[in-house]
Amino acid sequence: MALVLISFTLIALIDLVPLIRKHLGHDIIAFLLLFILGLTIAILEVSGVEIPSIMLLLGDVLKSLGMSY
């Protein structure tokens, strides 16, 4: 957990700070999008929450549509 937090803090320090300094709106949004998504998944993962596999979910959907081997 600590490691995850440290590494994400580091990433924010490295990339976000200069972005904010330069006032690059688009870049900040793109960065935050990726960052928050990654952080959420990582934290959920570390704290032991079972994250459903997207691939398997999609597979179930496809199967229910009858598209499968």
């Binding site: 490691l3 590494s7 320090l13 490295i14 990339d15 700070v17």
Partner: protein, 390 residues
């Protein structure tokens, strides 16, 4: 661009992070914490639920303790034994009870006591296939008697019997690759369902203070259970029928004399056919190049007659041996040749109906062996001593 200060700071901190991550060394195992396993033997145990597991470990010789050359044999190997239901449990127990971890990567041979082999070995080899540590090319051997005896054997030729057996087998595999039964080959045969695996069988005999290990034929399996064995002679017939033989002797003796030929090259073409009556006909055309190794007798034959005669008796002998071993196979109803697979490859459609009744079809196979021998080389002398002129 990222400002320089952040970049430097980042590189520094990231490498720090890396260091924290890396400080595990999960896979590090130094050599002196390992036991190098050179042989594993599985035997029947008095407890029917369990089996006896023996592992042979090559002991490393510390330099300082290498006092003299005449060290007792016991110091070269360590034997560990225990009794357990499955292989995995056995290994766990070994690791618990010994000062070092067992390393199976260099395991040379997997020995089965003949009594265990008769009960079936499929369940015991699963671990060896699944575990990444062990390799598919480990040799499978059946020991006449108990496998642990072979591992404990003191040999005059090699200090470690596991290495010895694997070297013997590898030497034999230059004669025919069918002597070398790796786990992969065994599994491949098992997967073919109709084919009976054959595995070399070794016998340990006492010879003074030392022991001797010899290959004494092949164990024939039906499924994963050993049912019988081929003698050395029958084994020759078997490998000739499988083809691709080099450096092998053909010993013939007739009333007029004895001749030993050496096979330079032997190929066997196999042709399976579905007969009119639904049975299978197999035609083996053996094409071989021989050299004359030794001739004695034949004093009544002239030199012109000699060569055709030699060819004839060699052909007959080869054919006889092949037929011999085939009869044994038929008697055991074990398709050691993989005829079933040949049929499957040639007639995949018909095969589906034959597969289930293969045992009956096999016992009804019509085998037709044709041998063609050439003897281009007679060795350094052309005729045996004392042969008639003209």
């Amino acid at each position: 661009m990222i400002p320089r200060r952040f970049r430097l700071l980042a590189v520094f901190l990231l490498s720090l992070l890396l260091m924290i991550f890396l400080s595990g060394c999960w896979d590090e195992h130094e050599l002196h914490t390992l036991f190098i396993v050179t042989g594993v033997a599985l035997d029947e145990s008095d407890d029917p639920e369990k089996m006896d597991i023996t592992v042979q470990i090559a002991k490393s010789q510390s330099k300082s303790s290498r006092s003299g050359d005449t060290e007792p044999q016991e110091n070269y190997i360590i034997l560990l034994k225990n009794k357990s239901g499955t292989m995995m449990e056995g290994l766990m127990e070994f690791n618990r009870d010994s000062s070092r971890t067992l390393m199976l990567n260099h395991n040379q041979v997997l020995l089965f006591g003949s009594s265990l082999a008769k009960q079936g070995i499929k369940d015991h080899i699963d671990l060896f296939m699944r575990d990444q540590d062990s390799r598919m090319e480990v040799l499978m051997i059946v020991v006449d008697g108990r496998g642990e005896e072979a591992l404990a054997a003191k040999l005059s030729q090699d200090r470690i019997s596991g290495m010895f057996i694997s070297r013997v087998i590898r030497t034999m595999s230059s004669v025919s690759s069918y002597y070398q039964v790796r786990m992969l080959d065994f599994v491949s045969r098992l997967l073919e369902e109709t084919t009976s695996p054959v595995v070399p069988i070794v016998t340990v005999t006492k010879k003074g203070k030392m022991e001797e290990i010899k290959i004494t034929g092949m164990a024939v399996f039906k499924g994963d259970k050993m049912i019988d064995r081929l003698s050395n002679d029958e084994t020759l017939g078997y490998i000739w029928a499988m083809g691709d033989v080099k450096h092998c002797n053909v010993v013939t003796s007739t009333e007029v004399g004895k001749a030993v030929f050496q096979i330079i090259k032997l190929d066997c073409k196999r042709d399976v056919k579905i007969r009119q009556d639904g049975g299978i006909g197999v035609k083996l055309s053996v094409n071989t190049t021989l050299s004359v190794g030794e001739i004695s007798g034949f004093s009544e034959t002239t030199s012109e007659e000699l060569m055709p005669y030699l060819v004839k008796i060699a052909q007959e002998e080869i054919k006889r041996k092949i037929m011999n071993s085939f009869e044994t196979a038929r008697r055991l109803n074990a398709d050691i040749y993989g005829f079933g697979t040949s049929v499957y490859r040639k007639y995949p459609k018909e095969w589906k109906s034959m597969k289930d009744s293969w045992d009956e079809i096999f016992s009804d196979i019509e085998l037709n062996v044709q041998v063609k021998a050439h003897i281009p080389v007679t060795g350094q002398i052309t005729q045996p001593l004392g042969m008639k002129e003209e």
